[in-house]
Amino acid sequence: MMFALLHRVVVGLLALVALPAFGAGAIEGEVARQPLNQTAIVMFLLFVVATLFITWRASKATTTSSTFYNAGGQITGAQNGMAIAGDFMSAASFLGITGLMFIGGFDGLILSLGAFGAWPVLMFLFAKRVRNLGSFTFIDVISQRLDRNPIRLVTAFSTIVIVVMYLIAQMVGAGKLIQLLFGLPYELALVIVSGLVLGYVAFGGMLATTWVQIIKAILLLTGVTLIALLLLTKLDFSFSALLKQATENHPKGEAILSSGVIFNDPIQILTIQISMLFGTVGLPHILMRLFTVPDMRQAKLSAYYASLFIGYFYIALLVLGFGAIALVYNTPAFFDSNGALIGGSNMAAIHVASAVGGDVLTGFMSAVCFATILAVVAGLTLSGAAAISHDVYAEVLKQGKPDPATELRLTRISVFLIGLAAVLLGIAFQNENVAFIATIPMVVSASVTFPMLLLSLFWSGFTTRGAIGGALVGLVSSIVLIVLGPQVWVSVLGNEQALFPYDYPALFTMPLSFMVMFFLSMADNSKRAQVDKENYRALEWRAEFGNAPEGEGSA
């Protein structure tokens, strides 16, 4: 019984925090609506006014597809690094990881490291090459050497799966989180989120989205820094004293300083690590940010700066997580009459803010969480719209020669439809256990996008047939194993035992996808395979030097 309860909590938290954006799993089912938080609402309105002003300015510059999708490639490396961090450092990270540490101490850090570990890989393998080869989306990169139509359709489909699943998780989580933090009704929260995101993205495109993400990242970093400093001030800036107080308050005592309180199985740890690292690297809205900078050097700098900001954020969360144990456990005001933490473990971070900074800091952090959701949903919406209007319409249906005005109009219509779908799906799924939906994007990204991108950039023998076969196997196996796993088979369908023991199957599906891609490519002797292989040298040159070898310009 106790294990089942713990499992549900962990699954929920994992689904929430395993995403670089805001997932929904931790805030499932009925959520007690809190009293209207006026400080939070005033601060959030200030954020909205500032970002809408930026959007209005950006809308004047957003007149072509290029400025819409990639801000005209004029964002600097440092700005883009901050925007990537803004896209990635989510309410999920802030609330979910602190909440998980509140329950299990050190074990919660696996999610911090898992998420952070993706950035060096992005920088070493992809930043420069992807920037040099693509124009708007990562699909541009893959389709350069392979048969463009089938590849674009398959990758655009996987992108849309990732974006839609992500959005459902986002919207359900957002609605419930806003109920908790602001005391607003669920449906109203969804309409506000969707309406603002539509405004940012449809009118301001990538330029406005970038600035929303930059402002949000600055606010979030400021908030966690303030909380961490105020926490340490209470203990003479001694982190060891903070840990001592945490061990004295937590029921598990000194066990929270090392592994084992929540997770015991090393294979489960590996599945989480693989899903989070390779899943993050392959997320379409993160990869899309690489095209907003003017050149390959700035692309590398983007990933570097993103690492610095995100690394700092997770170190600050280390203080916040143990700080939550040290301060919140021994404050009865944060617990209800049944002894449960008010709002659940995900509210631990907000309670810490309240404990060290009173109503003002609580209001500020609540507003930051709302802003965070907007920034992440904006990035996702833009990425989904680009997959439809650029990858499917412009590149497949119009064979790369679309009417620019029509393409831009279609993009804005796509943004509107995605926003509408997000609200409707958010309402439809509001009482469902959506933890499994939040898992799908990471696993699909690790099992489809990452292998395709890696092999198309670094293996001359990669062919269209291998890419499509591996992508389909990766996609189907990911969804099947998630359905057979504990999150769906037990938590949703009510069976006693899962047919597959792990929540994140990427440890198995990613190698499977790689193997299928490899063996199908090796066995492929078609004419198209010859073309795919011959295209590699020119692609590799363009990826590294910006231009193909003489006489090998076509790919």
Binding site: G117, F124, L125, E254, S307, L318, E544
Partner: protein, 80 residues
């Protein structure tokens, strides 16, 4: 093989070398959940810092150091 082809191979090797090093460090964190990593549960001297917590902080710093070195090597190569 041209000079540029050699340069390209060298850069690709470097990319995989850094990625390999990074992944080695990254997955070493899972030692905490195995019996081989038992020593990481120990506290450091009289402090309440455990080996596991120190490992987390050190890994975050090491990842950034690795990236800094990679960036520095790339920039040095571009300048020359």
């Amino acid at each position: 093989m041209t000079t540029k082809d050699r340069l390209l191979r060298e850069r690709t090797r470097r990319r995989f070398l850094f990625t390999g090093l990074h992944l080695l460090l990254y997955f070493s964190f899972s030692l905490n959940w195995t019996s081989w990593g038992g020593f990481l549960a120990e506290r450091l001297g009289a402090t309440y810092l455990s080996g596991a917590i120190v490992m987390f902080a050190v890994l975050v710093v090491l990842f950034i150091v690795l990236e800094s070195v990679f960036l520095w090597l790339s920039q040095r190569e571009e300048r020359s």
